[in-house]
């Protein structure tokens, strides 16, 4: 009786107990001392685990910070986080280059109509695999909001069938840029306001047929820009962020309104963004 029924149960229980006690003791006595600063530093980080710093999440960045990684890599945390981290680690504070996302599409798909009636799965990745999306322009935003889904700051939304970024909310983590199957989203410096909201590299005539807001490569902006910050290559204008001073001359002269600026309240969503901007800069 004992040999057949009780002993196996006792034996297995005892073995399990022994193993668990061994593990408990081992984890107690052989635990590796985690750098105390790492825990403190971790608390300063936003915890979005966006990966904008280039490390695998906030925990990893906190660990690497204690080993001497640069303190100014956390874009969502910005200057305030960098300052706190620098205090804890006792290193000199370095300015964080704040960034935000822009969507390089100016689509009027809602107006000019779609190429097809897409009834597939409602995601940009799926839609863009099927004949490059439902829009007439194969470069443009499909508008199913893969970027909206990944945004942790509620900063990007689909407005009139195209993704638009709220500059004030955007932390510049770049998750949306990774999610966009058309690679329409760029992460640019916070100080830059002007960008070309088009990725269409077709010739002007073709672009015009697809979308009336697209860049047709007319080079008017190139001639207007006093700093030589905008150039047309492959029928598409591109702003050199290092030279641009956001004067907005190119925006005024663009015949198709393909160049957008975050300064004009009409073109930014939402309108009260201007006041917030002043508060932040002041």
């Amino acid at each position: 009786m004992f040999d057949n029924y009780v002993f196996p149960i006792v034996l297995l229980t005892f073995t399990g107990l022994l193993c668990s006690v061994m593990l408990a003791v081992a984890s107690k006595f052989m635990s590796v001392q985690v750098d105390e600063r790492a825990t403190k530093v971790r608390e300063c980080l936003p915890g979005a685990n966006c990966g904008a710093c280039g490390f695998a999440g906030c925990d990893d960045y906190a660990k690497k910070l204690c080993e001497g990684a640069p303190t100014n890599l956390c874009v969502p945390g910005g200057d305030s986080a960098a300052k706190k981290i620098a205090d804890i680690l006792g290193v000199e504070f370095e300015d964080v280059k704040e960034k935000y996302a822009i969507v390089r599409c100016n689509s009027d798909c809602a107006e000019s109509g779609y190429l097809m009636d897409y009834h597939g799965q409602e995601s940009c990745a799926a839609a863009s695999m099927f004949f490059a999306g439902r829009g007439k322009c194969s470069y443009g935003c499909t508008g199913y909001g893969d970027c909206v889904a990944v945004c942790k700051y509620d900063a990007i939304h689909i407005v009139d069938g195209v993704a638009r970024v709220d500059k004030m909310k955007c932390a510049g983590c770049g998750l949306c840029a990774k999610a966009c199957p058309k690679h329409l989203i760029d992460i640019i410096n916070y100080t830059n306001d002007v960008y070309v909201a088009c990725m269409n590299k077709d010739k002007g005539v073709e672009t015009r047929k697809q979308c009336k807001n697209g860049c047709i490569g007319c080079k008017k902006c190139e001639r207007t820009c006093p700093n030589g910050a905008i150039a047309v290559t492959d029928n598409l204008a591109a702003v050199d962020q290092s030279k641009c001073v956001s004067c907005g001359l190119c925006v005024a002269v663009c015949p198709t309104n393909a160049i957008r600026t975050c300064l004009d309240p009409k073109q930014t969503t939402p309108p009260p963004a201007e006041e917030k901007a002043e508060e932040q800069t002041a």
């Binding site: 297995l12 193993c19 061994m22 081992a26 052989m30 635990s31 590796v32």
Partner: protein, 199 residues
């Protein structure tokens, strides 16, 4: 005697290759063979755990289970022991050999209940190996796993970048096909050990 041991190790590496002849441990074989360095890391971790697990389970079976006629408990008790052992090894490595822990770290928890580990510890018992033979068979099996992983990682890196593969076969299908061809290639080794060592 020594000859027998050599035969055992070579047999475990080539003839009875754990992945390609016995079809155990297929999951890491397909999952972690995309990159050469992770393939090597995984195989080293498997080898390490295999030897450790055998060193613990063999005495447990021989001195505790067998005298009491509890052979039927081997599977469940081995799972328990191996899982606890891997966790313990991880803790110890983290404390005393951080560099090894860093190299094996990601893969150690993954193989806690790898069927290759359980399979070899069980087949060591069913093959009636003694303690040294069991250890050698575990070591050979681990090395065989390493060989298969390295070979296949090389094959795979070529396959994945090859544009000539028909669309329907890209990805997992062609990986499985090439794995089967590799397994057929290993059939050529059968009889090698008998021929070489005459055992």
């Amino acid at each position: 005697m020594l000859k027998e041991y050599f035969a055992l190790v070579f047999g475990a590496i080539l003839v009875n290759n754990i992945v390609l002849a016995r079809f155990m441990g297929i999951c890491p074989f397909l999952g972690v063979s995309k990159k050469m360095d992770s393939a090597v890391g995984m195989s080293l971790a498997v080898t390490f755990v295999l030897v450790m697990a055998t060193a613990v389970t063999w005495p447990f079976y021989t001195f505790i289970l067998k005298p009491h006629g509890l052979e039927y408990l081997q599977t469940i008790s081995f799972i328990l022991i191996i899982a606890a052992l891997v966790q313990l090894v991880e803790i110890v490595l983290k404390k005393y050999v951080p560099s090894l822990h860093k190299a094996l770290g990601v893969y150690l928890p993954l193989i806690t209940t790898n069927c290759a580990v359980l399979g070899i510890t069980l087949s060591n018992i069913s093959d009636k190996y003694n303690f040294v033979q069991s250890l050698l068979s575990a070591l050979g099996t681990g090395l065989g796993f390493l060989l298969a992983m390295v070979l296949f990682a090389g094959v795979r890196s070529r396959i994945e970048s090859n544009p000539d593969i028909p669309e329907a076969l890209q990805g997992m299908p062609i990986t499985l096909i090439s794995a089967s061809i590799l397994a057929m290639g290993f059939m050529g080794f059968s009889g090698l050990v008998t021929g070489l060592f005459g055992v």
